[in-house]
Symmetry: C2
Subunit: 471 residues, 2 copies
């Protein structure tokens, strides 16, 4: 059979189908696929429910994660075996993990990293289908990373995509260029499509990046919801879950040991071969990038991996039950609360004033999501809908510096304390100068406000304002 | 069975065994494996002969390249089917290609690129087996590349190795860091172990590098004589030839078309998927990196690919018959003489005066080759042997700037005109300041001498001096 760049709908596994039963094809992200409820027809909680799609075109069997990740642990803690959230549980106050931790940590972590995640979009000529001056896009991206470093942002992430609209099929190559032009900023994937990669190569590349950056490399490993990678690298969507579980296991083994003994289904065995070079950081940070699949949260907790959650629609607070599940699973597995860090990947943007920010962000955002919508049968994005997401409890972190800082503190509180928050601005296809100005404001205005509030305990004051607005 | 970092001798294919029948295990290069006769017990011509090793431990069947590369073309042009050179032919003056070209080109091409190829060695602590400050090694490498660019050298190449002694398992990641710190110098692999890689990933990485460097990326694809890569990536040495042939074919298809239809034995089929991003250069330069295997020269000619020949021992002129075969095969296949470029990868080093150069280079060189020797059962390298290779017709380009420039011109003449010459200095494990000074001298003294001589026709004058010395 012939594949085009868009993979036949027939082959979408059910996790890749929307809760309404309409099939979804990928366009924007390798990662926030499932979480993009967009505050639309289905509520976020509904979007987390992986009910069987009613679309007869989906002919896939039920996918489940590997037993050692999500067996009894999962079903015992309020999730149905089919992956859906048990509503009775999700609406209960979930304080078990605090109990397990022995004490309830401060709602606000005393530090929070703030950064940028970028998907490197190509400017595609509609007539020829070719990218227009892609070298310029990359050059501008590197300018953005340099600026992010200069203004003191903590982290910059680059996505991985394998389709015409993007230039980031080899993110470590781009990050290496950034490594030698920056000093302090941490450099990460957002996300590495681990399902489609060889963990040996992934480790080699990130270890090299870690050496080049003198210890600033991180991996955010994701499941490769971006299904173009599957046919491109000869993989079966039927193996969606087992590919990721196995490759994550191998990646963590390589991280732990130079000489690796391992065997699995999807990659040749290793029988003690050495994997080089070794990174500066030991262990090299590996986060788990998740959308809204409950088993992914539990898996990250059991493994004691920091968790990067993509929240791009609806209300962030609706992710609290899943994040609590992560912490609970992690503590039960014997990991310390410090180890169970949570980061949030958000859509956001900052300008001098809120109205400008919204007006700058809306057109590109609307176009991106309307494009997805066209592929997925959704109605076009409206300004009213967009404005709703800008509200104090909505997912979009778009506004003036003060408003955005407040919202970050609100998200921090709503999710029980977060360690990292990244702004994905590339979705809005902003002109380069506006993007640069936003990065400057993030570093010089937003981040200091957040840091000061968290350090001085004034967060509550800011939050009360925010709550007032929300009321 | 358990693999250690050194692959069992039992599994060496015969191309990886020396002509004397002693088994060879890899240590230095992914590439100059077969060509490293080292001017020792066997003559270069002997080293080119892939006679069956008499060592009973080699249990491999005869390997042959794919028929469409080397079938009738190969046997018809003086090579035995088993790959050995027919002495009657190799000693005949081979002028056919000049005849085919219609005119004999100038012995000296009017321009020659001069550069550096580096294998990124780790400083390994003998007690712990770990690399000592590998970030520093990479940082110094980047300084060297920056300097090479500043002094006007034309090309810098980085090797690929997958063992403890090296830090360059992900060369494109390192090259990307160099790309944004340089302006004019071309950046290449030396070589990409294509047999063990996925051509889709290779293309994606080099295309990204090409965008970052604004059109300065090149691939030198080699057969992966570095056998550690085989067990590491789950490959069989029995597939040594077919892996490379197939992957090269796919790489060239991807270079030619964004959407690729391809099927083969060693990688999942492509059925029209798009490979992104696309590079600045179209076509992205792909060289074939060869040692001394005759079929590899013919393959490169038939494909019309520029040829990068590793000559690290014996006398360069002994490679002339093979290079003529390349040109002959290329012209017969309809490629223009301009397209059939030849580059030479040499061991070399420059210092203020010849004695210093030799004294600087010898200790590290001797240690490297004695280490290989220990694994392969050779006697230790002697200074007398080394000094012989420094002679006017020997393979080592070690000396003062004038002597080295003369030798480059001599090699250029002896091989019928070469387009690129690179210095591999890392074999000598030189202290960083000496390496930097050598790069400076290469750019400011050697390269101008060569350029001037080639442009003004004074090459013959220089050569007559050289010939006089050689006599």
């Amino acid at each position: 059979m012939a594949f085009s760049t868009s993979f036949p709908v027939l082959h979408l596994p059910e996790r890749l189908a929307s809760s309404s039963g309409r099939s979804m094809s990928p366009i924007i992200s390798s990662w926030y696929f499932w979480s993009n409820s967009l505050g639309r027809s289905c509520s976020p909680d509904q979007s987390l429910r992986s009910t069987r799609p009613d679309d007869a075109r989906s002919n896939h069997r039920q996918h489940s994660a590997r037993p050692h990740f999500d067996g009894s642990e999962w079903s015992a803690s309020g999730y149905r075996r089919d992956g859906a959230v048990d509503r009775r549980i999700s609406e209960r106050p979930l304080r078990l993990w605090w109990a397990l931790a022995g004490a309830r940590p401060s709602l606000n972590t005393s530090t929070m990293e703030i950064g940028v995640d970028s998907f490197v979009a190509a400017t595609v000529d509609r007539l020829t289908g070719s990218a227009v001056d892609p070298a310029k896009n990359l050059s501008e991206l590197l300018e953005a990373i340099k600026l992010a470093d200069e203004v003191g942002l903590d982290v910059f992430g680059i996505g991985e995509h394998h389709r015409r609209e993007f230039l980031d099929s080899a993110p470590t190559v781009i990050l290496a260029a950034a490594a030698v032009q920056t000093r302090r900023i941490r450099l990460t994937s957002a996300v590495t499509v681990l399902s489609a990669a060889d963990p040996v190569r992934v480790f080699q590349e990130f270890a090299t990046l870690d050496l080049l950056s003198k210890g600033r490399a991180e991996i955010v490993a994701g499941r490769g919801s971006f299904i173009e990678a599957f046919p491109l690298f000869g993989l079966e969507l039927d193996d969606y879950d087992s590919l990721f579980a196995e490759k994550l296991e191998l990646l963590l083994k390589i991280r732990e040991n130079t000489h690796v003994h391992w065997s699995g289904k999807h990659r040749a065995s290793l029988t003690g071969q050495g994997i080089y070079p070794r990174p500066v950081q030991n262990p090299l940070p590996v986060w788990l990038g998740v959308g809204g699949t409950p088993s992914s949260f539990v898996r990250a907790g059991i493994l004691g991996l920091p968790l990067m959650v993509a929240i791009i629609g609806g209300e962030p607070r609706r992710f609290r039950p899943l994040i609590d599940r992560y912490r609970e699973a992690g503590l039960r597995a014997g990991h310390s609360p410090d180890q169970l860090r949570v980061g949030i990947h958000s859509l956001g943007y900052v300008a001098e004033n809120a109205a400008t920010a919204a007006d700058d962000f809306f057109p590109g955002y609307a176009q991106s999501f309307s494009n997805i919508g066209r592929e997925r049968g959704w109605p076009p994005v409206t300004r009213a809908h967009f404005d709703a997401l800008l509200g104090p409890t909505g997912a979009l972190l778009v506004g003036d510096p003060e408003r955005v800082a407040e919202k970050i503190l609100y998200v921090n509180e709503a999710l029980g304390g977060i360690s990292r928050l990244t702004f994905q601005m590339s979705v809005a296809a902003l002109p380069h100068p506006k993007l640069m100005r936003a990065i400057e404001l993030l570093g010089t205005r937003v981040a200091p406000l957040v840091r000061t509030a968290l350090a001085s305990g004034t967060a509550e004051e800011l939050l009360s304002t925010n709550s007032h607005r929300a009321a």
